[in-house]
Structure formats: structure tokens, C-alpha cells
């Protein structure tokens, strides 16, 4: 009825029809594999502060503060994950706690266990009822935030820092440092 925008790629109920990122519990129980896409895991006891960059999928079950840039990959914040960061990724799934910005070139999925305070920018967003969310959800595919993040190399330093895995650098990226200042309750 209201389907005004060109949604040729959209499904009526995307929360159930999209190929999902596996939940953190599924990933945790899956056998580890060296194949591409198995991804890196930040375990529950790990606490990282700084800039994370890389070229593989990432599951965060620990605490991360700073910036996460995996622009061609997926990032999952697992149920035990506590993230205070800006995240740039192809696809982002949230099951845990997050304060900051989520900027995804493809989509963001918010699970019912998620607690989020911040800003989501992605052309496609799905949310399971029960999730706690405070902030903004920008679904405009033409928004400057999305263009700036993905259409050009946003971080000159990243070009000279071709890395794999999830290396940790010493300082958080300043470009995305305007995240909301409120803290999760």
C-alpha cells in the first residue's frame, strides 16, 4: 500500500526471509574452521580499546571501545558483547549492548536481546520486537553519512595499513568520534 520507494530487492517480511548472520550461540557452537568467512572472535574475557580494522567477519563477545572498521565484512555483537564504539561494516548484527554508531553499507539486524543507544545508518534495518533502542535509525540510502563512509577511502591511514584479521592499533579513529555521549543504563 505504502510501498513507494523502489523496493525491488525488498521482501515483505525481511526479518524472516533474509539470509541471517548466525547468532552468537550458533557460531560459538559451530566447529572452528579456517575457511574464509569463519571470522575472528573477541571472547568474553577480552577487553579492547582502540581501532580495529581487517578483512574478515568478526564476532564480539567481549568489551570493545573505539572504532571497528570491517567495511567488506560482517560484525556481530554477541549477547555478552559490550561495545562502546563506532562500527563500519557491510552487515552488522547486534545481540548485546552497544553505545555508538552503526554504519553498514548493506544492513543492520537488531536482535531482541540487544540494548542499543546511538545511531544506525544503513539502507536496510530489521529489528526484533523486544530489543531496547534509543536513538536514530537512518534508512535513507542517499544519506551523506553512508556515502561518506563507503564511497571513498574515509581514512587515509587505512590505505597504508592493509591488514588482515583484527589487529589493534593504539588510537581510536577520530572521524567517527561524534557518537552520543549518553551511557547505557
Amino acid at each position: 500500500m505504502f510501498n513507494k520507494r523502489d523496493t525491488s530487492s525488498a521482501e515483505p517480511d525481511r526479518s524472516t526471509t533474509e539470509a541471517p548472520i548466525r547468532s552468537s550461540s550458533e557460531r560459538a557452537s559451530a566447529p572452528s574452521s579456517p575457511t574464509k568467512g569463519a571470522g575472528a572472535v573477541i571472547g568474553p574475557s577480552i577487553h579492547i580499546e582502540g581501532a580495529l580494522k581487517g578483512d574478515e567477519d568478526l564476532l564480539i563477545e567481549g568489551k570493545v571501545k573505539g572504532t571497528v572498521e570491517l567495511k567488506k565484512n560482517s560484525v556481530t555483537i554477541g549477547e555478552s558483547g559490550q561495545v562502546n564504539a563506532d562500527i563500519f561494516a557491510h552487515t552488522i548484527a547486534v545481540e548485546g549492548r552497544l553505545e555508538g554508531k552503526l554504519i553498514a553499507s548493506e544492513r543492520v539486524m537488531i536482535r531482541k536481546s540487544a540494548q542499543i543507544r546511538g545511531t544506525i545508518v544503513a539502507p536496510r534495518v530489521t529489528l526484533e520486537d523486544g530489543a531496547q533502542f534509543n536513538g536514530s535509525i537512518d534508512m535513507d540510502p542517499e544519506t551523506d553519512a553512508l556515502k561518506n563512509a563507503f564511497s571513498a577511502p574515509a581514512h587515509p591511514a587505512a590505505r597504508s595499513e592493509k591488514t588482515s584479521g583484527a589487529p589493534i592499533s593504539g588510537s581510536a579513529d577520530k572521524q567517527a568520534a561524534n557518537a552520543p555521549a549518553k551511557s547505557l543504563q
Binding site: M1, F2, N3, K4, R5, T7, A10, P12, D13, R14, S15, I110, G118, T119, R124, V125, T126, L127, E128, D129, A131, Q132, F133, N134, G135, S136, I137, D138, M139, D140, P141, E142, T143, N178, A179, P180, K182
Partner: protein, 202 residues
């Protein structure tokens, strides 16, 4: 009870809600303020537009509002809900049924705070208890489907007296807004559509 009826079946036909959604400009970026909690149906419906959705979750702030003892503290609670990182002007405010759960002075404060965030000509949509003297003790959620029909997600069985704000009372409490249309719905709710008055005209 209202919610039980609406959580099943064909949902609530809310002509003014459908009107505002139908009226959104598909080619223009829209900023919509959702006074309720983020719900899957709302996001799915609005994702078909070039849209930014600001979520206040006023319902979550109601316990804090009820504990606040003076006017300044109550204003702070409401202002805190509206405090966001972005201040892009808003074209549409979705109040759902939440105004029923605010005291008259809180509605005045909210209208004042909202008006400062709105673009010229912005609209405000609300569902008000009108016929029934009772309403659910907590607001629950209203969730639209893809056709614009509204479904109540209301697990609450406890009831409380409904304030039954009249159209005139709302107009008095929200002088920043001009009543555009008001419709009494079949279930006893009254659906309201307001438009921000021109600032030049006061």
C-alpha cells in the same frame, strides 16, 4: 478489552495514520519522530521511504516521569528523551497512545519541546482514549503492518482511569499545533492529526 480485540484479527483501520504515511514524499528525505519504542512493523513500513526514524521510547521514561516531584524535574525527564545527537528538523511525530499517559502539564511541556525540533508544517499524530472511562494501566505498543493497519501489542490486563482528553483540551494544551482532523474510531479511540502552526503566526 481493547488490546485483546486488536491484537488479533484485522487490526485497527486508522484513516489519519494512513493519510500521513501516504502523504510522505517518496523523493524527499523524511525525519520521523517515534515517541514509542522501536518496533519491527514501524521500521519495516518506514523503510520504504528515504527516512530517518528518531526513537524516543517515551513509554520507558514514564516511571521516571511519575517519580519526578516538581515541574523542572518532569521537564528534564521529557527533555532527556528528546535529547539526541542529531537535530535535523522533523516532519512527522508519531505519538501513538502515549499522550493518554501524560498529565496535562506534561503534554504542554512535550508540545513545547517538540515544536522546537519540528520543520515548518510538520504533523503530529496521536490516538486518544475517548469513549471508554478505562484504559490499560501501561501503554503497550502500537505496530503498523505494511498496509498501514495498526495492531496493539498490549500484554497489560490491569486498567486505569482514562483521562479522555477532548479535542478542545488537546488544542489548549498544545497551542503550537493546529488541529487538522480528528476522527472517532470504531473501537472508541479518537485519532488526531495536528499540524505545527506557522511560527510567523505564533
Amino acid at each position: 478489552m481493547l488490546s485483546a480485540a486488536l491484537s488479533q484479527g484485522r487490526g485497527l483501520h486508522a484513516p489519519l495514520f494512513e493519510q500521513v504515511i501516504r502523504g510522505l514524499d517518496v523523493d524527499r528525505r523524511q525525519v520521523i519522530l517515534d515517541c514509542g519504542a522501536a518496533r519491527s512493523g514501524t521500521i519495516a513500513l518506514l523503510s520504504t521511504f528515504r527516512c530517518r526514524l528518531d526513537v524516543l521510547d517515551l513509554a520507558a521514561a514514564l516511571p521516571r516521569l511519575q517519580r519526578a516531584t516538581d515541574a523542572d524535574e518532569r521537564r528534564d525527564v521529557l527533555a532527556d528523551c528528546l535529547d539526541g545527537p542529531q537535530q535535523e528538523p522533523v516532519q512527522l511525530v508519531l505519538c501513538w497512545n502515549l499522550l493518554n499517559y501524560l498529565q496535562p502539564s506534561d503534554i504542554e511541556t512535550l508540545a513545547d519541546l517538540l515544536a522546537a525540533r519540528l520543520a515548518a508544517g510538520a504533523r503530529l499524530h496521536a490516538l486518544m482514549e475517548y469513549s471508554s472511562p478505562l484504559m490499560p494501566a501501561r501503554p503497550g505498543h502500537w505496530v503498523p503492518d505494511a498496509s498501514g493497519r495498526l495492531y496493539a501489542d498490549q500484554p497489560e490486563t490491569e486498567e486505569t482511569p482514562a483521562p479522555r482528553y477532548s479535542p478542545k483540551a488537546l488544542e489548549r494544551l498544545m497551542p503550537q499545533f493546529r488541529p487538522e482532523r480528528s476522527i472517532l474510531l470504531g473501537n472508541g479511540l479518537r485519532e488526531h492529526l495536528f499540524q505545527l502552526r506557522s511560527r510567523a503566526n505564533g
